[in-house]
Subunit: 480 residues, 2 copies
């Protein structure tokens, strides 16, 4: 019952890590408890296993074009780790593996790296793991650090990408490919794990194709990372970080929803008391200011800001204010028509960065570890151009499957500047998918009633600590 941290008046130090990485950081009790948390892992990873290939693969669209763009990789089978009395992968070869974090942060990235590291320790002892610093730029510039047990330890089960940091650069021009080749040669890399979203995994596949076409030994395996949830297919049921981020945002939204219920009532109660309605005039002023301010800013945001992949930076559009403004405009119109008499005050809340670096949920911690461990196995067995894939995710962790999916099988082409460009098909909201159908069946009720399920803060022990997110439950339930 008594707090386990110091009670002698010192603010600090549940534990000061004596390690190279988070050297200056002080850890909280929850963070500390997570570092040494015994992670459940798929049972296949705890036994000798072998890798079994499936049938030849195709592409998500335009297979002929994809075949032309990836002559060495197109058609590769997907792979699966299956338990076997004798481990048929691990020769005595010591591996040199690089790992890079690409794009925005997502909870669990450190566990992917932990999984790769532990694979090498357990199944290819004497191997070396390099972490490229600051994203793909680290590969091109040859900026890296050797990842040791001590270096990795304080990041286990922790949020953030700060172990080796990330970046949004692309390896795409012939010069950039050459820089990557030089770094791979200099470090004598047997393999590279690219942890990133759809664009980064497309890049990973182009790099794999490039290395293979030049008969270089470096193989490339991708890992699906994004809190957006738009990188998935049948064999990659979700991307890591999505579960944690959803739960963080859902907690905050739950808190605000409960707040609004009472706040609305307060305003209505106040309306009765404040007979002269002075406060209404103030609100209308404010709304008008918002009206005058917003559209131009949003237009400028749309026009000015593109990320290095050419994407509009949607997160920078103040959607919440735009929606308020649209509602205000509509209500103002109705008011002038005489069909609306009340007053509307929008209170915007924007949730963005709060979800990217949270402590990974139990789900994401185990999922990421399995992705990393599996990536190690795939590289060890000589695979390239696959994305690490962990499946059966609604079952207990022990029953999860581990394997790799041909990146080319997830691709289609887009026509840009008169050329076909390969792209991993974005997983958009599928209007005939189970989650949207569920939403459609409920949205009328949800529009008029307060049905929001407020999940509360993420728990690591006890009730709900192993809850599977609803998107995954619905999608996998529908497949079953």
């Amino acid at each position: 019952m008594a707090p386990s941290f110091v009670t002698n008046g010192d603010v600090a130090a549940v534990k000061t890590t004596p390690f190279a990485g988070r050297l200056a950081s002080v850890y909280s009790e929850v963070q500390t408890s997570r570092i040494d948390h015994a992670l459940p892992v798929p049972s296949v990873l705890r036994s000798p296993f072998k890798i079994v290939d499936g049938p030849a693969s195709s592409a998500a669209g335009n297979p002929d074009e994809i075949a032309k763009l990836f002559p060495n990789l197109f058609g590769q089978p997907s792979s699966m780790l299956v338990p076997n009395g004798v481990d048929n992968i691990g020769s005595d070869q010591k591996l040199k593996i690089g790992v890079v974090l690409s794009g925005g942060q997502a909870p669990g990235g450190h566990n992917v790296i932990s999984g790769i590291f532990d694979y090498l320790q357990e199944r290819a002892p004497g191997s070396t793991l390099y972490g490229f610093k600051g994203g793909p730029a680290g590969i091109m510039k040859g900026k890296y650090v050797e990842l040791t047990a001590d270096y990795i330890y304080p990041y286990r089960n922790q949020g953030g990408f700060d172990m080796i940091c990330s970046g949004r650069d692309k390896i795409e021009t012939p010069e950039q490919f050459k820089q990557a080749e030089e770094t791979a040669a200099k470090l004598d890399l047997d393999g590279l794990v690219v942890i990133g979203g759809d664009d980064s995994n497309t890049n990973a596949c182009l790099l794999a194709e490039n290395f293979r076409s030049k008969n270089l030994k470096t193989r490339v395996i991708g890992c699906p990372k994004t809190i957006d949830g738009d990188l998935k297919c049948k064999e990659v049921p979700t991307s890591f970080g999505f579960d944690t981020a959803c739960k963080i945002y859902a907690e905050m939204i739950g808190n605000v929803m409960i707040d609004l219920i009472a706040e609305l009532n307060e305003i209505l109660a106040h309306d009765v008391v404040d007979e002269n309605g002075l406060w209404k005039k103030k609100l209308t002023d404010q709304s008008l200011k918002l009206f005058e301010f917003l559209p131009q800013a949003i237009q400028e945001q749309l026009m000015l800001e593109r990320d290095p992949h050419g994407n509009v930076q949607v997160a920078k559009i103040e959607t919440e204010k735009m929606l308020i403004q649209m509602v205000e405009t509509e209500l103002e119109k109705r008011k002038q028509e005489g069909s609306y008499k009340a007053n509307f005050k929008g209170q915007s809340h924007f949730f963005g960065y709060e979800g990217r670096c949270g402590l990974p949920t139990n789900f994401d911690a185990s999922y990421c570890y399995a992705l990393g461990y599996g990536a190690g196995a795939l590289l060890h067995s000589g695979k390239t151009g696959l994305i690490s894939s962990v499946g059966n995710l609604c079952a207990p962790v022990e029953e999860w499957t581990v394997g790799g999916t041909a990146l080319t099988s997830m691709m289609d082409v887009e026509r840009r500047h008169g050329k076909f460009k390969p792209v991993i098909k974005k997983a958009m909201v599928e209007l005939d998918g189970a989650p949207f159908k569920k939403f459609a069946s409920l949205r009328e009720e949800w529009a008029s009633k307060n049905c929001y399920i407020s999940p509360g803060p993420i728990q690591f022990v006890g009730p709900a600590s192993n809850a599977v997110n609803h998107t995954l439950l619905l999608e996998l339930g529908a497949q079953a």
Copy 2:
């Protein structure tokens, strides 16, 4: 390991509450687990107890003026519940008690009401508890609901004030006092519990004085509520909601801090690659726009918006943008002087409503329940003009003390419109207090190093679930 909620494709319903209050709400697993959580309570509340009075009290300042303003209440002793073989409070009297929530929401308010209710059930059976709806306006307008076991149940240990909602109105004019008297007479109220901040408790004391001066039987007890932490004294070591809100904000800040560490590195890494620095120009554009936009808005916010207590609504000032703007202005100046060459981009995060309605921590849940239960005991023993006070808060819950503090002892006067007005002295940051001294001893290090302790999400079970917040630890440690 399997999730305990439905896996048949239904999004809904861990539990649909069949109760009057949160009728349409659907509860999450964590919320549900909290409803039936067996709350630790101070052991004195589990035994027969009696109430022992201390010495006569004075005021926080200008005792002569406070004595004039509260002729019937000034000098009252504080009270303490002490274990006793025979409960000397509870006559067989059935009580009629009202409760009101006043001002902004804070985690734990529902538990104060639960505590009052349970006191009445256990120690004054046959009593009635009325909840005034929408804050003090509910008292003046006679808007109330009878709170039954079924009505209260779904709100136990839950965040928000939506059980009876809150409001910011004051009872201050002679007409308003008369309305309150009429409601008290109509409901035959023996007592009223006012749950609110410093202004609301000042009001509670004025109401107590008014009732007493007119020989009305209705007594008034306050409860200290505010996430701001500015309502406290030696006998009221903290106000409820502060612990939960701090921990929610600290989690979010921790997430963003970890994000920034890597983001800064990404920008630096990017800086090397993006030789022509186009992105910098965009940022400067944005900053300039911010510069042009903000000051006027802040001025208007300062001038336009006051709450009914006349306070500037500080939360509506976009402090985070103002600070960014000030840094930009300074750096721009230095750049023109040639003493600064880099680029600064501020990313603002505002945390406000996220913390007001979270699930109360174990600390706040127990603290609030004890406040409410104690308020019931104080009213039952005939006390008025006290604020419910729970102490010894760094010890295990069982060892907490429960009592009441004379509200007049917390008061000083302010001169407004040529008259003395009583105010509960706001607990500001004390520059010679233990928390600030600790901060002062560390701020230089904190300014240059990353020492933020990232607490992770609030836990209800396991590590850190009973952690006492550092402010309280330092303040109570310093007193001991």
